[in-house]
């Protein structure tokens, strides 16, 4: 039996993509999708198609850049790179995520305590 796979939490996709690019350097869309599935050990169900509007949005906001390049197996693909302001955004989003996570963690722990 496969473990249930969670949907990508609303609003976290940006953070995940930024973090992936930060860790891996320039990547194409398929690479990003693969990486996310790898890291989450297939626990996160990513509809790969949803990645592209998100990538476009991040690019429109100036957090990532895109450039056409050639993949390892000689295919033309669009590569995305984190920009300086994208790195800053990653820091902010990571902090706010952590704050949120700790609040929720404490809430759950408190609820269990009673």
């Amino acid at each position: 039996m496969t473990p249930p796979r969670g949907e990508v939490l609303q609003g976290t996709l940006d953070l995940i993509v930024l973090k992936t690019l930060d860790a891996m350097g320039p990547l194409h869309g398929y690479g990003i999708a693969m990486r996310i599935q790898q890291v989450s050990e297939d626990l996160v169900k990513l509809n790969q198609g949803t990645l592209y509007p998100a990538l476009l949005r991040l690019e429109q906001r100036g957090w990532i850049n895109s450039k056409w390049g050639v993949s390892d197996n000689n295919r033309k693909a669009k590569y995305y790179t984190l920009t300086k302001s994208g790195r800053k955004q990653l820091v902010t989003e990571t902090e706010s995520w952590e704050r949120m996570a700790s609040v929720i963690g404490r809430l759950i722990a408190g609820a269990e305590g009673t």
Binding site: G29, Q48, G49, L56, Q60, R75, K76
Partner: protein, 888 residues
Amino acid sequence: MLRETLARIAGFFGRRRSLEENLEAELRAHLALAAEDKVRGGMSPEEARRAAWREFGGVEQTKENYREQRGLPFAETLLNDLRYGLRMLGKARGFTVVAILTLAIGIGANTAIFSVVHAVLLAPFPYPNPERLAIVWSVYGLEGRAPAAGPELVYLRDRSRLFEEFGGVWAQSGALTGEREPEQVKVGQVTSNFLSMLSVKPQLGRFFRPEEQGFGAARSIILSDGLWRRRFGGDTQTIGKSVWMNGNSFTIVGVMPANFRIIFPEGSSVPPEMDVYIPFPSDLAKQPADQGYIRVIGRLKQGVTFEQAQSEADEMAAQLRAQFPAFSEEGLKLRVVPLHGDVVRNLRTALLALFSGVGFVLLIACANVANLLLSRASQRQREVTLRIAMGATRGRVIRQLLTESVLLSCIGGAAAVLVGAWALKLLLVLRPQEMERLGTIDLDLTAFGFTLAISVIAGILCGVAPALRATRVNLVESLKEGGRNVPGAKHDSRSALIVCEVALGFVLLIGAGLMMQTFAELMRVNPGFAPDGVLTFHVSAASGKYETPEAATEFFRKLQKNVAGVPGVDSVSVVSHLPFDESLPNWYSYYWAEEASKQEQNTVMADHRSVFPGYFKSIGASFVAGRDFDDFDIKEGRAVVIVDEVVAERAWPDGVAVGRKLNIEHKISTFESGRGGVEVVGVVKHVQSHSLTNRVRGQVYLPYTQAVRPHMSLTVRSNTPPETLVPLLQAEVAKLDKDLPIYNVQPMNAYVEKARRETRFTTALSGALALIALLLACTGIYGVTSYSVQRRTNELGTRMALGAQRSDIFAMVLREGMLPVVVGLTLGLALSFVLTPLMAGLLFGVRASDPVTLAGSGAFLGGVALLACYLPARRAVRVDPLVALRYE
């Protein structure tokens, strides 16, 4: 998210094709990479491809989401809807043309009237800080708009704390002489600051300096643009030259800008266009306090309200009364009113009435188009049902339909600009004199903006009901029925529209009916004289030759005698002020019976006119009692006077005026020194002189020798047509003095006509509006009734097959068609009771609630509506039951 917005805008305007290719390539690469990975993992190429697609999710959906992120989805949908809408409109040509025409007329009428309302009521005057300009009237008892005397203006100027400055003007006429032929000009005598209060800077040269005003000052003159071009050929070297006027030499110091006009209230005797301006040549402070002739304007200091200014003026009036016996005797008060408001005060009601009328017309036009759209909505039911069945939300479809109707009304709006421009031109031809003072009116940017705004509003107004209607569908039923409708289901909203159209149209018709009755009444009104066949012109014996009263008298006496000898002339006389001629400052003052008590003395205010014998005969005024002046009165300068019935009744309520003595307050007569009474030798009928509808003031006529003035008008009664007569008259004047020009040559009727112009304007416009409303409402009624007959062919056929009589069917169709009309008439009647009293100020000889007009308009509208229902009803009874049933 400025950055994202900019990127989206770039995406919206970017080259669609290359953007799409880019997206396509990226997604293709993704799928290929994924498939390759899977092949390497051991899948067959076909399996790998399918797995890659599955993991990707919907490719088309991704593209759709991507596009939405890339551009401006709102604008893109709008563009699509517009494209689609245009196609749909193109498909239904007949509908489109009718709808656009209807809207173009409705909106265009609004554009035209709005331009006028904007120019007259809303736009500030083209003066510096126009909102702080006030006109200051002197008030004496019933006379609320009197000019100020010299000392009064000086006092205000010196004492006021709340006014920045005061300026004054007095219109006169003068004769320019010199190298060129003599020319009669309008002269504005002004305070040195007057022109700078109303204009930023002259076109050439400078404004007057304070030291140029007053007795003995250097004579300076400023020219109007018109005179400068006409007489000086627009030469920039004109400044510093001198010009001769009334025998004096003046130095030209400036030329006013081309568009400069003095916008003063009607009846203030300050014409909008003067030829030249000179500073007051005498010391205003030393002039007599009982001679008011200056029209005064003031500029309030920043932040001062008109209420504050008025209370200061009240204080100053009290001080003036305390200081000058003349002011206390006459009970001087001052009234401060905004210049703009005072100028447009008589136009406001008419314009607002027309503006609401034109709004009604637009509503009716919208109702008609809504009706058309409703019919179309049922034709398009299938399309709408299909779209909803395919998953479009109701909101999306409503948006699409509204886009279509707004598109329709905007095309109508574009056509409306043409209609509006044309209507405005027509309107300006008819406009009353008061509006003429404000200069030309053009379709400007504000009018375009207004047109756009009401186009959009109209589009939504006429689109909402049909869009809601069309999208309220029962999917299963509609698809099954093949898009056919259950009879009657759509009838409520259509009938409601007819009710509105009829109600609004009825109000318009009543308004127009009242104006027409007013106008007819004005045509019928007896002005107290017979203007037909009387030719008039002005002559100014202003040169030095006529300086003595005797010389001037002799000149006009000879002129009268010579003109009387011209073949075809029945009678001729000379008068100082023609009735309804506002080109000269009016004369009026108090008169009282010699025996009147002190309190009664300042109660009868009357115009006074200087006349030659035969005046009443030449204009066709009739005597109530007594006699006309004769040559003896003129020659001997006898102390006699003729009064009109108004003065006679006020001064001698016992009814006997002839033989009594009248006292004259003002020093207009050569008898003033004696202050003795003047004997009344005749009483004439009142001659309407300022208004056809009101007896503004009574009249007192003095023989010319008692009130000599250089500037007079001739009244020539003759059967000879003016073209033939004018050269003969010119020749007679030239025989006496070749240097004297005659001007303002006009039939007496032209003056009377001017007095009717405001009413004619309102009548013509309200009539046109009512006519449009009537046509639109009838098309609406006809459209709805015939549409319903057409849709019910089957039902009617069945009824007849089952034995219904043709007359029953006929009656039924008529009844159903007329029901909303009757409801509309009732509503309209109720509405008119609220609205018509607001236009009471425009009416004359008819009450706002005139039952004849109400009944007549109602019967007329009802009759036309009946006709509009009759035609479809006749068609209904011609239905052949067999054909009708097969129509299924």
